[in-house]
């Protein structure tokens, strides 16, 4: 069974559309509302399962809750996609095809002109530090559009509660020699960026050092 996990925080305007488009390609859709203050939970009515965090903790925990719910539903493949329409759900079939021969498939956003300069720089910086520390050539370590074989979850189970989750997953996957593939995806930057901030970037870099040295 293919299950999509959509973590959401204050995405009442877009969540409905993301769910409807994602449902076309997935057997089930799980939405994890990470303590939103808006109507995200109500707007996510179309999801097969809706989970609500009582308070906002972070994307890392939202994904953890979603993965555990997906595994309880006997998922074989778990797909994660952001709830702000930054990713195009019509690209899901590419992930489902590629995951057949891999443990993890990551979407790689092109660092084009539409991506804000600061995030292009941040992504490149994290990419090079990650490559240096883990010897893994991954173009986009921060992209939230990913597919996983459910059996890989115990090997990549993360501690991060925030945006560091994306990198920690990969660090653990690298350490456990999981098969990782990347596919190019298009990314839409229409709204104010809500993802990884500069402070998140600094924290991710420090965490990478911690995972390299102590994990």
């Amino acid at each position: 069974m293919n299950i999509a996990v959509i973590p959401a925080f204050n995405e009442g305007k877009t969540i409905k559309e993301v769910i409807e488009k994602t449902k076309k390609y997935m057997d089930k859709v799980i939405v994890v509302d990470d303590g939103s203050n808006d109507n995200t939970f109500d707007e996510a009515r179309a999801a097969d399962i809706r989970l609500k965090h009582l308070v906002n903790i972070g994307k890392g925990l939202a994904l953890k809750t979603g993965f555990e719910a997906a595994i309880n539903e006997n998922a074989d493949v778990i797909l994660t996609i952001d709830s702000d329409l930054q990713h195009d759900p019509d690209e899901i079939p590419l992930f489902l095809e590629k995951i057949k021969d891999n443990d993890i498939v990551i979407g790689a956003r092109s660092l084009n002109e539409k991506m804000p300069l600061i995030f292009r720089f941040g992504n490149s910086f994290i990419h090079y530090v990650f490559r240096f520390l883990f010897n893994l050539k991954i173009k986009d370590t921060q992209c939230g559009f990913r597919a996983f074989k459910a059996k890989a979850y115990p090997l990549i189970k993360w501690q991060a509660l925030n945006y560091a989750v994306e990198t920690e997953m990969l660090a653990r996957a690298g350490k456990n020699n999981l098969k990782i593939a990347e596919i190019p995806i298009k990314t839409i930057y229409e709204d104010k960026y809500k993802g990884t901030t500069i402070i998140d970037g600094v924290k991710i870099t420090l965490n990478m050092l911690k995972w390299r040295l102590f994990s």
Partner: protein, 110 residues
């Protein structure tokens, strides 16, 4: 003779003992926490009141003046407290995350 800065230190120590007692009465501090804090602040008051008694320790550590000793001891003490608080906050954060996750999974809507 007690100089101004000593008087300030003694009053500060007494105030902190009072706060420790207050928090203990409110059951925000356990008996163990309370005893530890009382000892800490009594030692602080003694050290401020009789700084000459610290001479042996200061000579051993190569510290010239009592003020320098208090500054170094204060930094060491605060560093310890910061580390202790950091570990407590991390522990609480993990516990909170676990509770939030379990409630979400239990009360999920299909």
């Amino acid at each position: 003779m007690v100089v101004g800065v000593q008087l300030f230190g003694i009053l500060f120590g007494i105030a902190m003992i009072y706060f420790a007692f207050l928090y203990f009465k409110k059951k925000d501090l356990t008996i163990n926490d309370f005893i530890v804090w009382i000892i800490v602040w009594l030692l602080f008051i003694l050290a401020v009141s009789f700084p000459q008694r610290l001479n042996v320790l200061m000579d051993t550590l190569g510290i010239i003046s009592a003020m320098q000793f208090f500054a170094v001891a204060g930094i060491v003490f605060l560093s310890g407290i910061v580390f202790y608080l950091y570990t407590r906050v991390r522990k609480n954060q993990k516990q909170l995350a676990k509770i939030v996750k379990e409630i979400a999974l239990k009360e999920g809507k299909k």
